[in-house]
């Protein structure tokens, strides 16, 4: 039985994580939060108090931390007696936070793949370049490390495992479809850290097709689906974390990720990219200042967490599996629909942050309860999906399934 949570990061997802941890602090124990900006931590701690989120009376301890500093991170883990670290800071921090967890023997959860500042869209499988190099270290130190346990990656990996193992005899393709049919009312904004968001789209698009890595350009391949609640939606093939693990862990020849974009988003993105403003490589101004254009774009765009109060509409994210069951072709779509306004009312964040922030808390509960405390490094599809999805059903992210038998709640 592990307990006491240290949250790393203080953005919109961290806010959801903090609220959900507070709602379950009878199981999770003490909650601490650390980020580069202690003011952001304090604002989250205050918001948890304001919403009366604690199940058992408590407060959240706040720390200033440069999480690239492994020793500083270890010290906070030890000072707070945290046994589970939920890393929802920038993707640049993963390897140093993971190392701090390995050295202190505590559980590590994150929601996105590690990135290096000057590299994008890395050679597949990307996990091989970073996290998976620590598999043996985790095993030796009995460290539970659950990688990519947000919504996508995360819940969609669990959906994929259910589809492959329970719904189909043979799976030909897994298409993960991520549609945000909500509206934030701003001229332009990204739903999470613009820097990490754009970096997903500025390089090549990796997909797993015919059991081989395939490279495309962004916005080169699109599809249109008639989806539950959000209706007819166009999405574009995009490189994404889960392709890099599902392709290695499930025996499925075609695995692709699709993200919905409106024409305005594509126009803005295309112009910024073509001008070179989304580059992760530094340029030098006429005055001799060296600066990464993408970081300036991030600085002028709205803080994603500021979008929450005005956000309305719904998201629909799911895994579409195609294959054969009992000798005939079968399509299975397992999905969740989340509502931006409901998320804001509950935890003060918009729906994208909500879908990303609830799953790592569910995973932390399963680790605390010993159910997912596997003492090794895993991706979500390697774990039993049923307790996880059942818990999400009760934590605000209900799962549904649509197949030849209709559209219904998915409960185990």
């Amino acid at each position: 039985m592990k307990k006491n949570i240290l949250i790393i990061g203080a953005g919109g997802v961290a806010q959801v994580v903090a609220h959900k941890c507070a709602q379950h602090n009878d199981i999770l124990g003490s909650i601490s939060i650390a980020s580069r900006s202690i003011e952001k931590c304090q604002a989250i701690a205050q918001s948890v108090i304001d919403k009366k989120a604690f199940k058992v009376a408590a407060e959240i301890a706040c720390y200033q931390l440069d999480a690239l500093n492994i020793d500083a991170t270890k010290k906070i883990i030890q000072d707070t007696q945290s046994q589970i670290v939920i890393n929802v800071g920038s993707s640049f921090l993963n390897m140093s936070v993971l190392q701090a967890c390995i050295e202190t023997g505590v559980a590590y959860l994150d929601t996105a793949i590690h990135e290096e500042p000057h590299k994008i869209c890395e050679t597949p499988p990307w996990y091989n370049n970073y996290e998976w190099k620590r598999r043996e270290a985790c095993r030796q130190n009995h460290v539970t490390a659950i990688l990519g346990v947000g919504f996508d990656p995360g819940v969609v990996n669990a959906y994929a495992a259910v589809a492959v193992n329970d719904c189909l005899d043979q799976t030909d393709s897994l298409d993960i479809i991520d549609i945000n049919a909500g509206s934030h009312g701003r001229y332009f904004a990204t739903n999470f850290d613009p820097e990490i968001n754009f970096r997903e789209f500025t390089g090549q698009v990796w997909s797993w097709q015919n059991s081989q890595w395939t490279s495309n350009q962004m916005f080169e391949v699109k599809r249109t689906d008639d989806l539950p609640v959000v209706g007819l939606q166009t999405s574009y093939m995009t490189g994404h974390d889960e392709i890099h693990s599902l392709s290695q862990n499930l025996n499925v020849p075609n695995i692709r990720f699709w993200m919905g974009f409106g024409d305005h988003y594509i126009n803005v993105f295309t112009i910024l990219k073509n001008l070179g403003l989304l580059s992760e490589q530094p340029v030098t101004t006429a005055e001799g200042l060296e600066v990464v254009p993408l970081k300036v774009v991030k600085a002028v765009l709205p803080d994603p967490s500021s979008l929450a109060p005005d956000y309305c509409g719904k998201t629909c994210i799911g895994t579409l599996a195609k294959g054969r069951k009992d000798g005939k072709e079968q399509d299975v779509f397992i999905y969740n629909v989340a509502d931006h306004k409901e998320a804001y009312q509950e935890v003060g964040s918009q729906g994208i942050s909500y879908t990303a922030g609830v799953p790592p808390v569910a995973a932390a509960i399963l680790v605390a309860q010993g159910i997912w405390d596997v003492e090794k490094m895993v991706n979500v599809e390697e774990l039993d999906p049923k307790p996880f999805l059942n818990l999400l059903n009760r934590m605000g992210l209900p799962n549904r399934i649509r197949d030849e038998n209709g559209d219904r709640a998915l409960v185990f």
Copy 2:
């Protein structure tokens, strides 16, 4: 008889100025060039040699100079015994270069209004805020200062003076129309310094209408004209230097400036502006670096001088005057058509730089010859336009007039 030219700046316009000075160095004497980057000066000096531009055997002396440093500028003026300074550096330099000229008693020519880094689209008449405050100092020191003697402002001011004084009995409106119907073949580029270029369009658009200052937004008001050579063209009301002087010096109730933009330019501009990337005000990145977004946009865009080799097509820039002559309504359009490829072949620059760079050299010749050596500060419309326009006819910028009598060369 003044002689010896010091060119300040080493961009695309400075390249044209250097070539044209060299072609007339029998009158102008020695030529020196100074800019922040001595390498750029040396490249220009070499290009003048390569094109065999000197009329009388000579070479161009190059200097590294921060022209915001008045003493450093004075020293180069004195060391080179320059009596005429042609300032085609950044618009931020005007007041310090002008001051150096006043203190050394030499003639000063520029092609654009003074700007301060953190201000844009200033209160009209803009010249009142900077250059015109030095009128008395120029008069006392017998300093000839000719402001805005590029093409627009500059030649179009001379066209306005001709229209008002020679063509019409009463002028109701002056519309300066600037169309670049050329193509540089790049995804996006500005034809001169992107920073100065965008700053013209990101604030309010000042125009002089019904003898009052009127403010509009960029791209709010447009017109379509059937113009000589370039045909049907749409242009947008834009704030521009010449409005600020013509409104004060000519008794015309409506004076407006119109610039042609393609849909792609407007799309890119609108997105960059709406995102805040064209702001002249600094922002702070997540890492704490303070940076002016517009300077980063400048850093990622093509250097305007790099466009020259591939530029094709023509420009058409002119002054359309409407009013009465002998009791009846009359439209007069006085204009020039320039060709990008011809400009490149002659001086290694594209047509926009060519139209901006030839006029200050013509003005320098008139100062050197005593014809325009007026020993005070003036805008171009205050000078006799005829020797200037006649000289331009022979220097590669032929002037034409289109009115009820047809379309013909304008020669005095």
